[in-house]
Symmetry: C2
Subunit: 488 residues, 2 copies
Amino acid sequence: MKQQPLISKSALAQRFREVINPAFVIEDSETQKPYECDGLSVYTEMPLLVVLPDTVAQVQEVMRICHHYQVPVIARGAGTGLCAGAMPSPDAVVLSLARFNRILEIDPRSRTARVQPGVRNLAISEAASEQGLYYGPDPSSQIACTIGGNVAENSGGVHCLKYGLTVHNILELEMITVEGERVVVGSQGLDSAGYDLMALMTGSEGLLGVVTEVRVRLLPTPEVAQVVMVAFDSVQKAGDAVGGIIAEGIIPAGLEMMDGYAIQAAEAFAKAGYPVEAEALLLCEVDGTREEVEEHLARVESLFVELGAIATRVSHNEEERALLWKGRKSAFPAVGRLSPDYYCMDGTIPRGQLTHVLTEMQKLSDHYGLRVANVFHAGDGNLHPLILFDANVPGELEKTEEFGARILELCVEVGGCITGEHGVGVEKIRQMHSQFNDQELSLFHAIKHAFDPRGSLNPGKGIPVLKRCQEYRSLDHIDEPSTAGGTH
Amino acid sequence: MKQQPLISKSALAQRFREVINPAFVIEDSETQKPYECDGLSVYTEMPLLVVLPDTVAQVQEVMRICHHYQVPVIARGAGTGLCAGAMPSPDAVVLSLARFNRILEIDPRSRTARVQPGVRNLAISEAASEQGLYYGPDPSSQIACTIGGNVAENSGGVHCLKYGLTVHNILELEMITVEGERVVVGSQGLDSAGYDLMALMTGSEGLLGVVTEVRVRLLPTPEVAQVVMVAFDSVQKAGDAVGGIIAEGIIPAGLEMMDGYAIQAAEAFAKAGYPVEAEALLLCEVDGTREEVEEHLARVESLFVELGAIATRVSHNEEERALLWKGRKSAFPAVGRLSPDYYCMDGTIPRGQLTHVLTEMQKLSDHYGLRVANVFHAGDGNLHPLILFDANVPGELEKTEEFGARILELCVEVGGCITGEHGVGVEKIRQMHSQFNDQELSLFHAIKHAFDPRGSLNPGKGIPVLKRCQEYRSLDHIDEPSTAGGTH
C-alpha cells in the first residue's frame, strides 16, 4: 500500500532548508523544470521538491527527514539515463548528487581512484591520465554522465567487451540507507567478506540506497589502439564474423556493428569514408603494446576476409582512428536525420544468435511498417536497434513502443536479456515479466524489502509487481499503479 | 530461535530413499566419516545424514523435504574449502553435489561452458583446451575443488590479479531455493536485468540457495607465458617493488611473494633453484603473445633491478617455468616440514600497505613467540601467512588462533579485508565484527532473511549474530550458539 506523506510540501522544504543551503532546495516549478525527465524524455513528471546536498551528513539528513515523514526519494546523477530510471514523481523528492563532484584521491600504486558520485565518467580518466591510467567503462554519454549514475545502471560502453561493465571496475561504495545510515560495501581488495552487496547495489537503479562515494579501479592506458573497419554485403555474414573472431581467441577492445541504414546515415553525417553500398559494417578495435596490436590486427584482418568481408580498412594513426569512430559515435543523431523521431532500444543476446535476431527484427520491421537501424556493441551481443517513427502520425508512437517491446521479448526468447547497459527503469518494467517468472521476481522483492521495507526509494522503477498480485488487484478493482518498488 | 526438526533421523532417511537411489543416502557414521570436515580439519562435526542426489529434480525434492520437516541443509562440493564453510552439523543434512559432475556444453563462439557444480575446476580447462580456451580462476586446489565450491567461496588463485575471481568469470547460475524452487540468476550476456543476484550468490557460502548449474566464461589460452624470479634482501623492498610494478602499468598474470622462511622451505623441498640467502622472492608471470611477453618481461626485469632486486632469473621454456612455480606451489607442504603443524591464514590488504603489514606481522610473531612464513598473492594484496606451531604443546593452538585473529584485524585496520579467497565460514565469523559494524551486518541478515527466513541453509556460517543481540543474549543467559545464519 502506498505510504501517505506526513508533511506538506512547504513544511518539508522548510525542514530541508534547516540542513542544506536554501539555494539548493528547489520548490518552484520553473526551476524544477530541468529535472522533469532523464534522457528518455518521452516520460516526464514534475518532482515534489529537488534538493542538492553537498556533504554526506546532508544526504543523511535528507534521508532521515524523508524517512520520518514517509516521503519517497529519487536519487539523480546527470540525468542522462535512457530508461526513465531517474524520472521524478509528484510525491517524491529528487535528491540530486550533482554537487558531489570532487575527485578525492587517485592512487597509482593501488591503481584506484576515490570519487564522489557526481563526478563525470570522463573526468576520472582525464584526472588519471597524468599517471598513465584511465577508467574503463565508456558509455557514449561519458562526457556528461556521472559515475553515480553509472553505478545505478551498471553502465557499459564500447570497450566493455574487453574491460567489463561498471560492476567489474569498481571496488567499494559508500552508501546511505533509506533510514539515513552510512554503510560501506565492497572492499579495497578484489574479494570482500559477507554477501557481495557492492555488486547488488550496482545496477539497482537507486532502489536500495543512495551512493555517496565510489572507489573505482583504474587501468593502464594502452600504448596504442588501432581500429579496422570491415564491410560486408549482408548482415548475416557480419553477424557470423563477430562470432568467428571471438572464437579465434582474440578479445578486441571493441567490436561494433552497423547495418545499411546506420552506415548511410552515419556517412552522410560524419564523412568517415564508410562504404555506403555495404549492408553491414564492423569496427574492430585492438589495443595493447605496439607489437601486440600489429600482430592482432593482421590476424583479425585476414580472418575477416576469410569470413567474407568485401572491404577492410585499418587506421594508421590517431586521426584516422578518430575518424572511423566518429561515424559510429554520431550514428544515433545521424539516424535521427532520417526520421522525425527515433527510439533507441537496448537488449542483449548470446553472440551466436546475432544473425537469427537480425533476421527476425527485419520481419518485425516489415510487420509494423517501421524502419529500424541497427547500431550495436556486437562483441558482447548488446543490441541498440533504433526504431524510426514520426510522433506526429497518430498511433505511430504506440506502434513503436509495441515494436520495441517485441524486440526485447525476442532477446529473451533466444536466451538474452532485456537490458544491455541502459537498465530497466520505467521503460522496460513490463518486459521484466518476459525475463523472470514470479519466483524470480519474488526474490527481487525480498531483496528490495531487505533494504527498503516501505518502498520509499525510487518507487515504480526496476522491479514490477508480481503477475499474481496484478491479477489479484484487477479482480478486486483496487486502484493502484501498475508498478511498485517495494511491496507486492 | 533454533528450529526443531519435525522428523526422526531414520524417518528422514526413509523419505530421502523414496526420491534418491538408496545407495546415496548415507546414514551410518562410518560411511559419513569423510564428510566430518572440509579442508580446515581442525573443525569437525558429524552430519545427521549425507545425501548425494544426481538430478535437479532430486535436489528440489531434498530441499522440499528438509523445508517441510525443518531440517537444516549444508551443501558441499569437494570439501577442499579452508574456512570450515562446509563443516557439517549433527542436526543438518549434508547435500553433496559430487555426482553433479557433467560438463554439459562448451561453446567456443560464445566462449562459455555450461557445467554442473560438481565438476572439478581443472576439468573445465582440460575439456576446453581443444578449443584453445580455459577457465581463468585457478585456486591451488584446482585439481580437486569443484566449480560449485568455487562459486560458494568466490575462489581466486594465482592468476586472479589479471583475470579476476570466480564472480568475474561466471555468467549465469541455476539454483534451488530453500523451498525447493528452481530459479536462474544472471544471464548469458554481460549485464542482466534486476538486482545482481548472481554476484550475490557468489561467495554466499551456501547460505542463500543450492547451485545446480553454472555457466562460466572461458578465456583464450595465451600463446605463451613466462615467469621471472626476483630476489630481494628485504621484504620491505620486495613489497615496495610489487607496488612499483603495478603502478608502471603492467598487469602480470600472477605476482607472488615468499619470505625467507618460505623460500628456504620451498627450496629444500622442490629444488627450484631459489636463492636461499634472499629475504624475499617474487615470482612474476607475464602472458600474451610472444612479442608482448618478451617486451613486458624485459621491462619488468629492468624495473625490478631499479627497485633493488639482488638477483633475477627468467624462465626460457615451459620446463623452467614449471620448476620456478613448483617451489611456490609446494610452499605450503614444504613449510609444513619446518614445524609439526601450521595454520594458513587468508586476508587482503591494499597493495600499498604490504611493507607496513609485513613489519607489523613480524612484531606479532615475536610477541606470540610463533614463527610465521609468508606466501601470498602479492599483486592483489592477498596474504597467506602460515603460522608454525605444535598442537602437542599445551596452549599453542589457542595462541595460534589468537595470532591469526590479530592478523585479520590488522588487515582490516589498514583498509583491507578478512578474506582474500578462502571465505569466512566458521573460521572467521568472529572477525566479521572487526570488518563490519552492526548496521552493515544488519543488511547481511536482511539479505539472508530474504532468501532463507528460517535460517535453514548452512546455519552458523558466514554471518555472525549482531553484537547488540549477543549482549542481549548474554544478559538474559539465553543459551544459544554464538553464531547464527538467519536470525538475530
